[in-house]
């Protein structure tokens, strides 16, 4: 493959970035126009929905466009397609939940920000360049700050927004520091080239520098996914923000963070091959983070009574489960046992999106009237007055607890099976321990999810009756989440095929023809 002239390469890049560009253009127009015209919020939300659907269609049209992965800033592989589609579908669900959660005055900015967040997440999905990936991450972070500030209702909202802002900036700093080391090690910022170099150089020449890069990047991205010990913001911010923002924070940064981990670290670390010094350390690091994260998330969740805090700790616990996939992938890459780590991770991300957004959707719906539902006890008796809603919530909670045959069960099974099949060779004990910890944690986690189900179905109503104003988009979004939770559990194989392809794409190197002149410290363009 010879290098393309700059103009042509730019055009090719733009072509595969069409969905994101579309979203960004629509968002820009909306935010600009919003300053001058005052339109009802449904105009803006509908425009956003149309933009997302169009972006999805465009994405399907361009899915076969291939572009030299060792040059481009963006790769259009199976992983990119899977993650972008996932973000678009989840984005539509979030939009459905959000459509009436903002007043007309701020609707243009609100929905514009949602679109930009989606575009940023999709950019990260296929990012093949350190700087580009960072831009994608910030494209998500900055509108998130805006969204958190937009309500400006109370001191707690502002406190939550401030906390998130400071800690997020701090984590971005950590991430950049790690990325700088990664660049310094190899002298290239193209991720595939970076992976190729680390593979052909039989490991990173300077292990300590590699470790610094690894730990800082994991810390920076660990903040996004709310992994312990970078999780502190989550409970405070979820509790302080409106439910729709909590739903957004529970899903987008987590999906984004794991996709970014796969993009930056997996290719580079697993390319060094199982058993290399850095891959062992990385697996150990991710394994430790996984076990600590899920244990802390689940045990602290047991003591929570506030619904949003409960779901915040639940989201922390799920970051731990997902981190198992990272550990296995660090260790094995696309080789190894029957189940791939990244495969389980990507499947669980989709399952997590459906069940968490579904649970938050029900909380948003029951809060739609004048009766505030803040604590677990406030949910008492929901099944008597709103059987369907309670049933959907219960399905999402059962899935979160990992009860068969729902999506959460299949995802957990895939992850634990991947960990188990990775338990070979020297650090077999580590992966057995991880799988065991995962299983014990699911048992602990079941307690607080089922407690909520018990409260909804078996406890009598307390205080005022529920006032639910169910609108069509919210209802459709919640129903979509419930159905996805069931379908992904009952008929998981098509989805598993897709995640398998994506996992292979992200953790293997394309055929590196014409890269012989690549050297450490050299410029790949030369």
């Amino acid at each position: 493959m010879t290098a393309l002239p700059p103009l042509e390469s730019a055009i090719q890049t733009l072509r595969i970035l069409l969905p994101e560009l579309l979203l960004l253009v629509v968002a820009t127009v909306m935010m600009t126009a919003g300053a001058f015209v005052r339109l009802p919020r449904k105009v803006w939300s509908r425009t956003s929905a149309i933009a997302l659907i169009l972006a999805g269609l465009v994405l399907l049209l361009i899915r076969n466009e291939v572009y030299d992965p060792y040059q481009g800033v963006f790769v259009n592989d199976a992983m990119s397609l899977y993650a972008r589609l996932l973000f678009i579908v989840a984005g539509l669900i979030v939009l459905g939940l959000a459509h009436d959660q903002v007043d007309d005055a701020r609707a243009a900015e609100f929905f514009g920000c949602l679109l930009v967040i989606n575009a940023g997440a999709m950019l990260v999905s296929g990012a093949n360049e350190l700087v580009f990936l960072f831009v994608g991450l910030e494209l998500v972070s900055i509108p998130t700050y805006l969204l958190l500030y937009l309500p400006r209702r109370t001191a707690t909202t502002q406190e939550a927004a401030t906390k998130y802002f400071f800690l997020s900036i701090f984590s971005s700093g950590l991430l950049l520091f790690g990325m700088a080391y990664l660049y310094g090690l190899t002298g290239v910022s193209n991720l595939k080239s970076l992976a190729f170099l680390s593979a052909t150089m039989s490991g990173i020449p300077q292990i300590p520098f590699g470790l610094i890069a690894l730990i800082f990047i994991m810390a920076g991205l660990g903040f996004r996914v709310a992994a312990v010990p970078f999780h502190f913001y989550a409970p405070d911010v979820y509790e302080g923000s409106p439910a729709i923002m909590a739903a957004l924070l529970a899903w987008v940064p987590k999906g984004l963070g794991f996709v970014a981990i796969l993009r930056t670290l997996v290719a580079f670390i697993s390319a060094t091959g199982a058993g290399s010094a850095i891959s062992d350390k990385a697996a150990l690091l991710a394994g430790i983070l996984a076990v600590i994260t899920m244990t802390l998330g689940n045990t602290v969740a047991l003591a929570q009574n506030n619904l949003k805090r409960l779901l915040a700790y639940s989201s922390i616990a799920h970051a731990g489960y997902l981190m198992i996939g990272v550990a296995v992938t660090f260790r094995n890459g696309a080789s190894g046992g029957v189940a791939l780590g990244a495969e389980g991770l990507l499947f669980y991300l989709a399952a997590y999106a459906a069940m968490t957004l579904g649970a938050f959707g029900v909380i948003i719906a029951v809060n739609s009237g004048d009766r505030a539902v803040e604590t677990v006890d406030d949910m008492a008796g929901l099944a008597q007055s709103h059987r369907g809603l309670a049933l959907q919530m219960a399905i999402c909670l059962f899935s979160l607890a990992g009860i068969p045959p729902l999506a959460g069960f299949v995802g957990k099974f895939e992850l634990f099976a991947a960990a188990w099949s990775a338990s070979k060779g020297e650090d077999a004990g580590l992966f057995q321990l991880i799988a065991l910890a995962g299983a014990i944690n699911s048992a602990i986690g079941a307690y607080y999810y089922l407690r909520l189900v018990v409260v909804m179905f078996l406890r009598p109503l307390r205080g005022k009756p529920f006032s639910v104003r169910m609108t069509l988009p919210t209802g459709a979004a919640v129903l979509a989440c419930t159905l996805l939770t069931i379908i992904l559990g009952l008929a998981a194989s098509p989805m598993l095929t897709a995640t398998h392809e994506a996992a292979v794409a992200v953790s293997t190197l394309p055929d590196p023809t014409g890269l012989e002149n690549l050297t450490v410290g050299g410029d790949p363009a030369k």
Binding site: L174, P208, A219, F223, F232, P235, L296, N298, V300, Y447
Partner: protein, 672 residues
């Protein structure tokens, strides 16, 4: 048409299922017409079965459709059309459609009318699937389906405690058998080639040769264990007599066409395996013989008409197993065909007898105690004649259907005692003992059947009244609920045509079908063309055994005459006999206390175990669980939660320190 049906045999079980689903879903609107979809579904299934029966049967036609495909286990929805299957299928659907028609009259006005027909459809569908299946695993699925539906139907009047208890008993006893089936299946799966559980693969001669004698012995014994539960043999027969707590059409269905024939069918189907282990064959025969005799002895003294019929079913099933077990060596095909022929004829005359009993019960306002009515021959002439035909068939009187089939079994037993002479052990003695017991049992059968007939239809006319000494006011009320809601009719009249027409059709079958298909060899010829049966060596025809026929007929006729002397006229002999042999009489009346013995020997220790387990559960396990739940909670609340203090600078500091700590640890790890 035939070709199409053979390749799409799944249509047969699907039709009743669709009918059942229609009744279940549309029951709210169909109400009293809920029987239409089910009767239509079963009727169409019968027509389809007829096509299969008369069409190109005799060779397997699997129609696979993927179902379970996991590593090492492939179970397709695989059906077969061969001699045995088409025979069973036609019999099941034919009897079931007549019973369904009868039930639409019998059940009229019951509040659970749609529910009844919904489950009825599913029941027939499961049974059709069971006999069509070409794979042991799939057979097991339908086997369980039959079990579930029988539970639902026996406990149809679930508000009646006795019905609920009977349903539970039927289900639990069947579970004991299902357990044996499941273990047998696992075993078979682990030894058979490629773990392929389809009939063709299992019965393949080279495959059977590789399995080994010990494994075959175990597997076939486990299958027989399963059969003893479904087909009500010693020691698991206890559920069947209680199962008449369900509506009478259900009893007719369970006793004649579906359910109890499943166990016989399973053993007949497994013939290629069973024939390799004579030990199991002898066991099957002996168990069948014990069952036949025991049930006949119990039936001698029962006062409940349906209960007499129930024990006679148990007894006749015993005959079938005697026949199945008699297939020593080259006899296998002859003996199995004989047993299946008895199953076939029995289905008709037993359905007839049960429906006729149901007709009596319907007419008597739910009373079924034979001491409370008599001389009904004038009030219910059609019921009387049809019952008489069924009874004659059951007694094995020439030329009724039962004569031909029972005789074949007896002949097979006699031949088995000759055939087994070369074998090591006491086989000839065993088979000759079984043979004579069977002839004695035949006489006993004739006696109790005659007794039931004469007590019900002969003597002076008497209708039940609440002042009978045997009347139980509570029972009366309970029965009244089930049968007569909305039926404001007077007691003692002939049943409506919807009920007696099925009786008449069945009576014609019970009279003629044995002579038509037996001596002409039509039945044997059809069933022998079953892959697996046909390959067994020496499937030759045998001479009609006149000696046996004469002995058994003479015994039956004498017994019939005695029963007329005892019950056909006013007589004090039975009472005197009961007084003279009081312990024996009481033992028979109380069913030899088998239920009580089970309660003591099995349920007692089990209850003790349950109590111990419950105690252990509440005291030890519960507290352990509570502790396990509390420790993480306390840990979370008092150790981890304080870190969440809400101070952003603290969070940042912890994050930074964690990064530093991780760096330190990993650097140290990589340098050391």
């Amino acid at each position: 048409m035939t070709e199409f049906l053979i390749h799409n045999a799944w249509i047969v079980p699907i039709l009743p299922l669709i009918g059942g689903i229609c009744a279940a879903v549309g029951g709210r609107w169909l109400k009293g017409n809920s029987h239409f979809p089910v009767v239509a579904g079963i009727g169409l299934a019968f027509v389809a079965s007829l096509f299969l029966l008369l069409g190109e049967a005799g060779h397997a036609q699997p129609t696979p459709l993927g179902w379970i495909e996991v590593a090492g286990l492939t179970i397709p929805f695989q059906f077969r059309v061969d001699g045995l299957t088409t025979m069973m299928l036609s019999m099941v659907t034919f009897v079931a459609s007549l019973v369904a028609i009868f039930a639409s009259g019998y059940m009229a006005g019951d509040p659970g009318y749609p529910r009844f027909f919904a489950v009825f459809g599913m029941f027939v569908s499961s049974m059709a699937g069971l006999v069509l299946s070409s794979n042991f695993a799939l057979t097991y699925v339908f086997w369980e389906g039959v079990g579930v539906c029988s539970y639902l139907l026996v406990g149809f009047w679930h508000s009646k405690p006795s019905a609920a208890a009977a349903a539970k008993k039927a289900f639990l006893v069947n579970r004991v058998g299902d357990f044996g089936f499941a273990i047998g299946l696992f075993w078979l799966w682990s030894v058979t080639k490629n773990h392929d559980l389809s009939y063709d693969a299992v019965f393949d001669a080279t495959n059977l040769a590789t399995i080994g004698h010990g494994a075959l012995l175990g597997i076939t014994l486990l299958f027989f264990w399963a059969a003893t539960a479904k087909s009500a043999q010693v020691p698991l027969y206890v559920w069947l007599p209680d199962a008449m707590e369900g509506p009478t059409p259900v009893s007719a269905l369970i006793h004649a066409a579906t359910m109890v024939t499943a166990g016989v069918y399973l053993i007949a189907r497994s013939t290629p395996m069973v024939v390799l282990v004579p030990e199991v064959q002898a066991t099957v025969s002996v168990i069948g013989c014990i069952t036949a005799l025991l049930a006949a002895l119990i039936a001698l003294t029962q006062n409940d008409l349906k209960r007499v019929m129930a024990y006679s079913t148990v007894s006749q099933l015993g005959y079938m197993f005697m026949g199945l077990g008699a297939g020593i060596g080259g006899l296998a095909s002859f003996a199995v065909v004989g047993a299946m022929f008895h199953l076939f004829t029995h289905a008709f005359f037993k359905a007839l007898l049960f429906l006729a009993s149901g007709s009596v019960m319907h007419s008597m306002g739910g009373v079924i105690d034979m001491r409370r009515f008599s001389g009904l021959r004038k009030k219910m002439p059609i019921t009387c004649i049809t019952f008489a035909i069924g009874a004659a068939a059951l007694m094995g009187i020439f030329p009724f259907a039962g004569f031909w089939s029972k005789d074949e079994i007896l002949a097979a037993l006699k031949l088995a005692s000759h055939e087994s002479e070369g074998l090591k052990g006491f086989y000839p003695e065993i088979y000759i003992a079984v043979y004579w017991t069977a002839i004695v049992t035949a006489a006993l059968t004739a006696f109790y059947t005659g007794r039931a007939f004469f007590m019900t239809f002969w003597g002076e006319e008497k209708l039940p009244s609440p002042h009978d000494p045997e009347a139980d006011p509570a029972e009366d009320a309970a029965h009244g609920h089930g049968h007569d809601d909305g039926h404001a009719h007077e007691i003692g009249h002939e049943s409506p045509p919807l009920m007696w027409i099925p009786l008449a059709i069945l009576a014609v079958c019970a009279f003629g079908i044995g002579g038509l298909l037996g001596p002409t060899g039509l039945f044997a010829h059809h069933v022998e063309h079953t892959p697996g049966l046909a390959e067994i060596e020496g499937a030759a025809h045998h001479e009609f055994d006149y000696a046996t026929a004469i002995i058994s007929s003479a015994g039956a006729l004498i017994a019939l005459a005695v029963s007329y002397l005892f019950y056909g006229r006013k007589s004090t002999i039975p009472a005197q006999l009961a007084e003279r042999f009081r312990p024996a009489y009481l033992a028979s009346l109380n069913k030899f206390y088998v239920d009580e013995i089970y309660a003591m020997v099995i349920l007692g220790p089990l209850k003790f175990l349950v109590a111990t387990a419950a105690f252990f559960d509440t005291v030890v396990v519960d507290n352990l669980v509570l502790a396990a739940a509390w420790i993480p909670r306390l840990f979370g609340r008092y150790v981890l939660a304080p870190f969440q203090n809400g101070l952003v600078q603290f969070y940042a500091a912890v994050t930074a320190l964690s990064v530093a700590g991780l760096l330190f640890v990993f650097m140290w790890l990589s340098l050391s």
